[in-house]
């Protein structure tokens, strides 16, 4: 079979068929529940307390690390975990000569557990943070990834990523009802700050680390502990 066997007309038809099936698949994907997350390790380890390390910043925006770090206690605490106090944690690293999140992420789990006594550590990477300005419309976007690792067994308990963007207001279908509810939950915080990126850091952090479909499981301080 050679390329010349296809006329231009056939190729166009094939492309439109492919496009149509891609659209159909995308539509189905939006309706169907996402495939369930494998919580085997999470349920075997059942952490009680979480240590959120300063996020590694892969963006040019210098405020990304602390913008996200300031927001992540809430979703994890509301899910039912004790979260190691982030300001003291940051200061403890500084007093030990560790100012750089990348270096901090390299500290051994054994050492982290010895000092902070937490059951699990949360390693976050911020890949988008801030506003990109364009002629037609500018967009503020925050994207972060997280890995939760048990400090007792070294097992990966959970990983995921989340985004919050100002363009969602123009494209409501993206977040759906769940997205709107999460938004409502953080409206109070969002309205009290003037820093736009920090607002989207709040929403992205909620999406990343609160209890939701394929998110973290309820922790022991939640009345719903072990029901999921």
């Amino acid at each position: 079979m050679t390329i010349s066997a296809f006329s231009l007309g056939t190729a166009v038809t094939r492309w439109s068929q492919l496009a149509a099936s891609l659209v159909a698949v995308a539509a189905l994907g939006a309706c169907a529940a996402p495939s369930p997350y494998d919580y085997t390790a999470f349920k075997q380890n059942r952490p009680v307390s979480m240590l959120v390390l300063p996020p590694v910043n892969e963006t040019p925006e210098v405020t990304a690390t602390y913008g996200v770090l300031s927001q992540v206690t809430m979703p994890l605490a509301e899910a039912g975990y004790y979260v190691v106090p982030v300001s003291l944690m940051d200061e403890t690293f500084r007093q030990n000569g560790l100012n750089n999140p990348t270096e901090i992420h390299d500290v051994s789990p054994r050492k982290l557990r010895e000092i902070f006594g937490a059951d699990a550590a949360v390693y976050i990477k911020v890949t988008r943070y801030g506003t990109s300005y364009a002629v037609i419309s500018s967009e503020t976007r925050v994207t972060a990834q997280a890995r939760i690792v048990d400090l007792r067994t070294g097992q990966l308990l959970w990983q995921g990523s989340a985004t919050a963007s100002s363009s969602e207001n123009r494209n409501q279908s993206q977040g759906g009802l769940a997205g709107l509810l999460v938004n409502a939950l953080v409206t109070q915080i969002v309205e009290t700050v003037s820093d736009t990126s920090f607002k989207y850091a709040a929403i992205a952090s909620q999406r990343l680390l609160s209890h939701r479909t394929n998110g973290v499981l309820y922790g022991p301080r939640s009345p719903n502990y072990q029901t999921d």
Binding site: V48, S49, T63, Y66, G67, L69, S70, Q71, T73, M74, A77, E78, G80, Y81, Y82, V83, V84, P85, V86, S87, L88, D90, E91, T92, I115, F116, G117, A118, L177, A178, L181, A184, L185, Q188, I189, T192, V193, D195, F198, A202, R221, S222, N224
Partner: protein, 122 residues
């Protein structure tokens, strides 16, 4: 204007409860108010003064107590951090002890910090 037809009201309640049924109602475990914003203030280079931060957090703590709501994990420990910045070590210690009493999960780290505070300064 007369109140809406009972059927219409019934339908609204049913639809409303279906919508709510999709996601649990957002009841919170803790009184957050401006805590995250204050953490951000603390971390920012051009932040407000520790005195201002302390005043805001104190007011928030009083509100929480008045309404019987729980303060979030790390709230008292963050107060301790601000007291340390202000050189008020005695109050910082009290807040660390309070964090430990309210969240026994923090005991190991709080003891680590308390031990360092009582150690003779070089």
């Amino acid at each position: 204007m007369k109140s809406s037809h009972p059927l219409r009201l019934g339908a609204a309640i049913v639809i409303g409860s279906i919508l709510v049924g999709c996601a649990p109602a957002p009841t919170r475990l803790y009184h957050w108010e401006g805590f995250q914003g204050q953490l951000y203030e603390y971390f920012k280079a051009d932040s407000s003064s520790p005195e201002d931060q302390l005043r805001i957090l104190d007011a928030q703590a009083q509100k929480a107590r008045a309404s019987g709501a729980a303060l979030p994990p790390g709230f008292r420990a963050h107060l301790a951090m601000i007291y340390l910045r202000l050189g008020r070590d005695g109050e910082a210690k009290q807040e660390l002890e309070a964090e430990k009493a309210n969240f026994p999960e923090s005991a190991q780290y709080m003891d680590f910090l308390l031990k360092r505070m009582t150690a003779p300064k070089s």
